[in-house]
């Protein structure tokens, strides 16, 4: 790594936080996940030597931390506080009617299963190829394709319900 580890983590944080909020479905849970994620990253920093691999590595840690959270069945905030916190975050970062338009998408995403939300984010928001996703999740490319088709179908149905 050319940059010091702390600086590289701090630089990755805004993008990682976006992914965490989208994955967790609420800002408070995402920030908890990121705290744990940063702590694990520091503890295992010797594992990362190539700066280009840093972000996928952090995303993998985040997935593991999130799975641990699900296993522990931590309390998930109710939908109202969840959406309020995201709306506040969106309102602070853009003007106009963008936040209102985005709320439908966030509501629909929050009703999807974890696997469906994850695959939609990896393809649509992170811009990963199918083979990269297959490698990162340890599943065949065919499974990526069928899971993505089902996730998009479900998202479409939820968005249609709101129109």
């Amino acid at each position: 790594m050319t940059a010091p580890f702390g600086a590289a983590l701090a630089e990755a944080l805004p993008r990682l936080r976006r992914y965490a909020i989208a994955l967790a479905g609420d800002v408070a849970t995402a920030d908890d996940l990121l705290q744990d994620c940063m702590e694990r990253a520091w503890k295992n920093q010797a594992a990362i030597t190539d700066e280009r691999a840093l972000f996928p590595w952090l995303r993998a840690i985040l997935h593991n931390v999130n799975l641990d959270r699900i296993r522990l069945r931590r309390r998930r905030p109710n939908e109202t506080e969840t959406l309020d916190a995201i709306a506040e975050t969106l309102a602070g970062s853009c003007a106009g009617d963008g936040p209102a338009l985005s709320m439908d998408v966030i509501r629909a995403m929050n009703r999807l299963s974890f696997e469906h939300r994850q695959i939609l984010l990896l393809v649509g928001v992170e811009g990963l190829s199918y083979s990269e996703i297959a490698g990162e999740l340890g599943i065949p490319v065919g499974t990526v394709m069928s899971r993505l088709a089902r996730a998009r179908e479900r998202l479409r149905a939820l968005l249609e319900e709101r129109r």
Binding site: P4, A7, A10, G92, G98, L101, V125, L148, L155
Partner: protein, 242 residues
């Protein structure tokens, strides 16, 4: 006989994952079936809506506690092996020692950097502009101060140009950069003030990033967002020739 177009094919088409032949087959199927074409457009619109929605989240300010968790190693947890009475005695002794010890000013490098940024300290030598002679002279002053060959970072990729270099004898060097909106970004360099450290803080509207290793303390300041400061600080640190 051409293969039928499947649901996964439609999504692979949207994501640019199909071979040219399969993509052509999907386009032919869409041309003959307006309902199918509309479904594909809906899926494309949903994908774009996801991008637009979550892109905004990446621009949202990151809480200071998270930035701290990212930029500094977590504190080591102390094993609970001492009794309360003994711990109390140790704490009292520590308080007494701290009370009589002279306390070093907090973050002296940051205060020095802010003083230099505000032109509150007159440099022993000042170089104007970013012509070759000035850049060479600045690099020589930095190298002499640290005893290692150093380079003046080129931040033109980020839209910042060197406007002047302030040399404070053999103690410190300040590089002043400006962009076309006259926003100031300063790089204050001095021999290391301590062990490896990375810190982000602020003084009023000025964001400050401190990078320190065994040889050098670099304090970078600017009135800008934290992500922008990180970008500039990363470019600077990696271009110093360390």
């Amino acid at each position: 006989m051409p293969q039928a177009v499947t649901e996964p094919d439609l999504h692979a088409y949207i994501d640019g994952e199909l071979s040219p032949e399969r993509a052509a087959a999907v386009e032919a199927a869409m041309a003959g079936d307006p309902a199918l074409a509309e479904r594909v457009r809906d899926f494309q619109a949903d994908k774009q809506a996801l991008v637009d929605t979550y892109r905004r989240l990446a621009d949202a300010p990151v809480p200071a506690a998270l930035l701290k968790a990212a930029s500094t190693p977590p504190p080591r947890r102390r094993p609970r092996i001492i009794g309360f009475a003994f711990a109390g005695t140790v704490a009292l002794a520590a308080c007494l020692v701290l009370a009589v010890m002279p306390r070093a000013p907090r973050d002296p490098a940051i205060e020095q950097a802010m003083t230099a940024r505000d032109n509150a300290r007159i440099p022993s030598h000042e170089l104007k502009g970013h012509d070759l002679a000035s850049v060479d002279a600045a690099a020589k002053a930095m190298s002499d101060m640290l005893g290692n060959p150093m380079r003046v970072p080129d931040l033109s990729r980020a839209g910042f140009a060197l406007v002047s270099t302030d040399i404070y004898g053999s103690e410190a060097v300040q590089l002043r950069y400006e962009d076309d909106r006259q926003r100031l970004f300063t790089v204050f360099l001095r021999p290391s003030a301590g062990p490896d450290a990375f810190e982000v803080t602020e003084r009023g509207p000025v964001r400050i990033c401190v990078w320190q290793n065994a040889d050098l303390t670099a304090v970078m300041t600017g009135e800008m967002s934290t992500p922008e400061l990180f970008r500039l600080a990363s470019m600077t640190y990696s271009s110093l020739g360390l």
